[in-house]
Point group: C2
Chain length 236, copies 2
DNA sequence: ACAAAAGTGTTGACAATACACCCATGT
DNA sequence: ACATGGGTGTATTGTCAACACTTTTGT
């Protein structure tokens, strides 16, 4: 499958061997930001962990390849996905010259379960503060992805892609605290986020919590669309 | 020269034919933001304008290739240069599958003059509001570069790379107005930028202007370094 | 004198921050 | 009763935007 210039084999699943895709997949669980890593089962890097990735087919766009690979790994489509940049040190890949195009993805942990197969023998979530040494330049890609996420989350409401459909304001705040590595004031956060009129207050409350149940909210992208059309700007 | 897998010919200037580099070069002249375009002299796209670019050598990093190509075109090194992202639609390049890695560069017009040769027969500055139809997906790359510049200029003091060494506060403001496409208040801009204590006031004034001469300032990157170390943040 | 741009000062509206305090609920 | 988080209120401080005004210099 990783086969250079062998022409169109079978259908059109032949790949280009000069560029790959690597994806930093973020998840949020129990107040902790995590990244999905896969263990490589073959070759020199056997046993080491790395970012999930793969090869780009000759007839698909780079973005499509990223979506396809993400789907093959998770079974999901409609995942939030954005390109980071190309990583192109000449010796970053030991066997030959490969430029990789980095992506980052955000997914709701409730939706997720790993699919079998793939080029990895195992997959596991790692806490953002507990990332091991990764293969190739994957630590660099991961760090770049985190910085991008931190910058992005202040400018657009993408954080909701990491939360369940229904969430409390405190969960949302803790998400921001975790991503940005800062502490926030509960009261001021409430005022700020509610003032944007971006959230839909539901007629539901938390269940089975050992304290006063909080109101649940959801992020309504219709509202967001309407607000942006009016010149609204999500600034945090 | 564009030759696949022909091994190490001559020195090590052989290139990879699967990825290229294209660069959006911004300049600022007379209050107008401009982009440097080159005219293609050969092949199907003869006569059409496009972004300057070129091929990546087998033994150089992508960033190095971008710097090298920029140097070959302008004769300058130490140009401000940053990667945009990879552009990878399968049919973006008509002859074969090529993924291009976009960059943007900022340069001082006073430093600049075009070098001969290169893969382009001619080079010319185009006003940002007067860009023609470009080859391939270069309009898309240019638009992406402009958006990046707009976002970046609000967060880091890179705008100075477009101005002469010595400039007036009004020139600086007009640069921001032009890049962001907005109008600003002279008084408020002064207060804001001076309050950052980022600029070095010189003991010089404008010459040969038909009105009251303005004080000249320069951007001192030493000051910027010191400030950033203290946790300073350039926010506009 | 006038034009044109440099440069200063004042104001009111609004947003960010810090912090005090009450409410609801499970153990 | 108390621990835990939910939720409200307020006072202070600082920032932003609008705009009126004075100063300097060439023609």
């Amino acid at each position: 499958m990783v086969n250079k210039e062998s022409g169109e084999r079978m259908e059109d699943t032949s790949v280009m061997d000069a560029f790959s895709i690597d994806c930093v997949i973020f998840g949020f669980d129990n107040g902790i930001l995590e990244v999905l890593l896969v263990q490589h089962g073959e070759g020199i890097s056997k046993g080491k962990w790395g970012l999930p990735g793969g090869w780009i087919r000759k007839k698909e766009s780079v973005d499509n390849a990223a979506h396809r690979l993400l789907g093959e790994l998770t079974g999901l489509d409609n995942i939030y996905l954005e390109q980071l940049k190309a990583f192109g040190e000449p010796d970053r890949f030991p066997l030959r010259r490969v430029i990789t195009i980095g992506y980052y993805a955000l997914l709701k942990r409730e939706d997720f379960n790993v699919k079998a197969g793939f080029t990895a023998s195992d997959a596991k979530w790692y806490k953002i503060n507990d990332i091991p040494d990764l293969i190739y330049d994957h630590n660099e890609i991961l760090a770049f992805g985190l910085k991008k996420l931190q910058a992005r989350v202040l400018k657009t409401p993408i954080g909701f892609n990491l939360l369940p459909e229904k969430f409390t304001l405190l969960q949302l705040m803790q998400l921001y605290e975790e991503i940005l590595g800062i502490e926030m004031d509960k009261s001021n956060f409430r005022r700020k986020i509610l003032h944007m009129k971006l959230l839909l207050a539901l007629d539901e409350k938390q269940q089975d919590v050992s304290h006063r149940a909080a109101k649940l909210y959801k992020f309504d992208s219709d509202i967001y669309e309407k607000l942006t059309q009016k010149g609204f700007n999500f600034e945090f």
